[in-house]
Amino acid sequence: MKSNRALAIACICSVTFMILVTIGSMIYFKSQLAKSADAMKGMEKEEYERHYVLITDEKNSSFWESVYEGAKEEGKLKGAYVEMLGSNLSSDYEQKQLMRIAIDAKVDGIILAANESGAVTALINEAVREGIPVVTVLNDNTSNRQSFVGIGSYNLGKDYGKQVCRIVEEKSEGSYEDGNCQVLILMEGEFHNTNEMLVLGGIQETIEQEYKGDVSIKCESEYISQKGTFAAEEAIRDLFMKPDLPDIIICLNELNTTCVYQGMVDYNRVGEIDIIGYYNSDSILKAIERKVIYSTLTIDTKQMGRYCVDALNEYIDMGYVSDYIPVDTYLINSENVADYLGDMAENVEE
């Protein structure tokens, strides 16, 4: 009787053991499979109400990446997915081609780092006609666009002008030949961009109003073509080949800033020329730390991205949006660069 009971218990135990082993392994395997399924690419999906595209000629610059990031984050909160149009295509398309694609792909909104060309204006107008709201960012285009998100170019010019005055005041009078200070302002594009003209005006006005010293400051501008691959870099290299170099170079975009900085290092002109740059990329910040670049003006790129998405949402929801949305600007020089470098390190760690 006893042995029978023991046998029955042992049988039940062994069967239970088998079942437990099987079920345990099943659960373990399923969880492992689920984990790998989560890691599978192209499987996860989150649906959004709206599809916005960001169109820029410089997809890979950290400036625009930062803007895109800001826009994407804001979009995620507000139910819109922002796509950096053309980023995953194998061909590089120009702005107008991307505009064409965006219009024909019937997206819900376009964020455009516009240029002033007529073709782009026409495309903006076509998009608006098709019912696709367009927000220009950083650079405006006189068209039927719904809104412009960017910095006031005149104010930006004034900031640059102040920096020029500071540089000249800091240096002793003898350091400029003949008491002349040459300021070269590197402009984008082949057209006389309205924004850039405003910046230029701002600079010149500020210098005239604020500088009371004996040095005569002369401003010149040079157009660096951004069109065509590597055009800007080549143009800037050409600058350094010229016999008379300016005393101060003002760059109005990130690419130019980096190129000028690199050129200065390569041609061994560090200390001879003061650079006032634009944007706060890692290399620019490091250059400020090493005092190769005097200072840089930057805007809150994430905020800019956020404002773009907000503007589009506002227009679609309300039917109207304010024509100009200003974005905050900052000045970074050797005094406060440590803060920004710290931020960078933190971001990298994240």
């Binding site: 062994s14 099987t22 790998s36 996860e44 024909d104």
Partner: protein, 495 residues
Amino acid sequence: MWKNKFRKMTLQAKLVMVFIVTSAILFIVNMFMFYNVNTIVSKLDQIYSSNLDLNQLEETLKGVQDNMTDYLNTKSTDAIKEYYGNEKELQTMIQELNSKATNNEVALMEKNIKNLTESYLKLTSQTIEAKRGRNVEKYKMYYDEATELYTYICEYVYSLNREQFKNNSENYAMLSFSLNYLEMISTFILFMVAIANVILVIMVTKSITNPLKKLAAVANQVENGNFDVELLQVDTMDEVGIVSNAFNKMIASIRSYINRIKENMKRERAMKEKELLMETHLKDAKLKYLQAQINPHFLFNTLNAGAQLAMMEGADRTYEYVQNVAELFRYNVKKNNDTVTLEEEIKLVDIYIYILNVRFSGEIHFEKRLDQSLLHAMVPSMVLQPIVENCVNYGIRNISWQGLITLSVYELDERICISIKDNGIGMTQERIEKVMKGQLKQEDLSQDSNGIGLDNVIARLRLFCGREDVLEMISEGENKGTEVILYLPAVEKEF
């Protein structure tokens, strides 16, 4: 309930059940493995089907573009027919593409492709319309736009294909890793289940063989004659249980048979004992009776008194007779169960013959031929008298001629021979043998003997001499007398 059922199961059913249970578990485990493998394989299939779909879409798109160009070039009906076929196909194809805004790049590209293709198809149909309406400028413009769009779509399809292929390669690696993983887990499960199964089978077979072993052990004990073994405990109702039960019954019945035989034997022995006891008691009673009749001292004293009386009265013959009778009793009182000299024994025979001759008026003649040198030999008492008594009672009592008893003592072959010979009726050989073997029945013996039979004499002589041939009876036939010869050891026995 289940346990009872298990107990009642036959061995076959038990074995079959164990086999089925273990097989079922293995089967389930295998099914689970196959299910998982299938899931993974179908996922692998899914991965590459998306690439295939895209390639088809590209083909059809190319067809539409080519047909449109062909139509614009030739305006042929074949081209327009094919165009419509491809257009329709393309329409259905793009219906399957994702149309929602998502954060998934691939899905988003699908959405763009879908919308671009829709716009493209709208443009191509406008182109065809314009061509039909011979609006040369318009259809050229539409054609250029459509072609531009066509290149964008191709670019998109190509990029999407590349993107998917990149993802799929990673996914494939992941899934193939999962497959390897599954293999490992499957091996582990099968291994564990196999071990558990083996244990299960061992336990069940043990439950079958253990009772058999017990049965064999008990059977061995029984074989060695131990019937008091403990009965087997029968828990199961299978074949072994049935055999064990039968064995138990067998042992029980063997035990009861043995008990019955033992009882019978006991009863028989008791009865025999009783019979013997009866005989002994009877003999005892007879002896006591005889003893009571003859108190030798009393008789001797009385007879002595009688002898003195006869002497005083001058009756010499009476005196002598009574004196001899008294002497006989005195000998009995004195010498019973003792060794005496041969002379004393012969004297007793003399007294006995004298008394008999007084009783029977001198009918018995008694002769002695004695070797005087042998008379001091020691012999058991009361040996010769019973033989002489036998001679008188059976030999010469009822004969018509003069009875003669001859007693001779002589030495032969270093042994003392005592011969007592009568001339009476003699004995047959059978009777002699019967007497020698002591087989004569009680009834055959005479009533008035002094109780000491011939077999008693033989037994005592054998004990005295330590050998068997102590007495010989010789008779030549009827009426030719009988001779009894005693053989005693020649060595003198002294106290």
